[in-house]
Amino acid sequence: MEFIITEHAQIDIIKIKGRIDSYSAPQLEKAITALIERGRSQFIIDMEEVTFISSSGILLFVNLFKQFLRENEGKIAFSGVSDLVVSGFKLAGFDRLFEFFPNQTSALDHF
């Protein structure tokens, strides 16, 4: 997995490439935690080039959502998620927690 973080005013776009699994999810979590510690809290997760996500990857985002809910601050949305990758979110019933946009531009427009 590789990821690139791009800052757009208040919003950070995290573009991920490859697999999000038990190996890569902790690396991603560390990077997002570092952003939150810097006061950032608006994230668009670009998953256009994500080929696979396991339960550990899905739970990373669910726990982030829960943290934002508890603290009443922060937002997370996804863009470019393929049907296959979104199927894991749907199976666990987590798709209703997040907004999914077709691409980065529409995510930024509606964020």
Binding site: R19, F52, S87
Partner: protein
């Protein structure tokens, strides 16, 4: 039938996935079915590392794939402590998020995505998890 052994660490999950995807493609599954099999095996192997071996690089994950009539049978074996996925309660995915217990999501995925999930333990062989999926199942 093809058999491969992988050192039990998270970095190897990708190599395991590639092996499984190759076999599932040979068995003529659809892309959604292949993704489902890939997910179930990834969750199973993560559980082996987390629960049976209780950490990385404690032993091997041996995977045997057999293309059967109208489907695929995957046997995952390890030498860790007994771990029966049946002992893990399913998460209640309808309960409110704030109180919801997320443990067991990987096993929930395995049960939902495969047609058969069977666990066996023996002192000589260790843990054996058998996953079966049928085309169009």
């Amino acid at each position: 039938m093809k058999t491969k052994s992988f050192p039990g660490n998270y970095q190897n999950l990708e190599a395991i996935s590639n092996f499984i995807v190759d076999q599932a493609q040979e068995a003529d599954f659809s892309s959604h079915e292949i993704y489902a099999i890939q997910t179930a095996v990834d969750e199973a192997c993560s559980n082996v590392i987390d629960h049976a071996y209780q950490g990385e690089n404690k032993g091997l994950i041996n995977i045997c794939v057999e293309i059967i009539n109208n489907g695929i049978k995957i046997i995952i074996q390890d030498d860790g402590i007994p771990f029966d996925p049946e002992d893990v309660p399913e998460p209640d995915i309808t309960s409110p998020l704030e109180i919801r217990e997320e443990r067991g999501l990987g096993i929930f995925f395995m049960r939902k995505l495969m047609d058969e999930v069977r666990f066996d333990f023996s002192q000589t062989i260790g843990n054996t998890l058998t996953l079966v999926k049928f085309r169009g199942g």
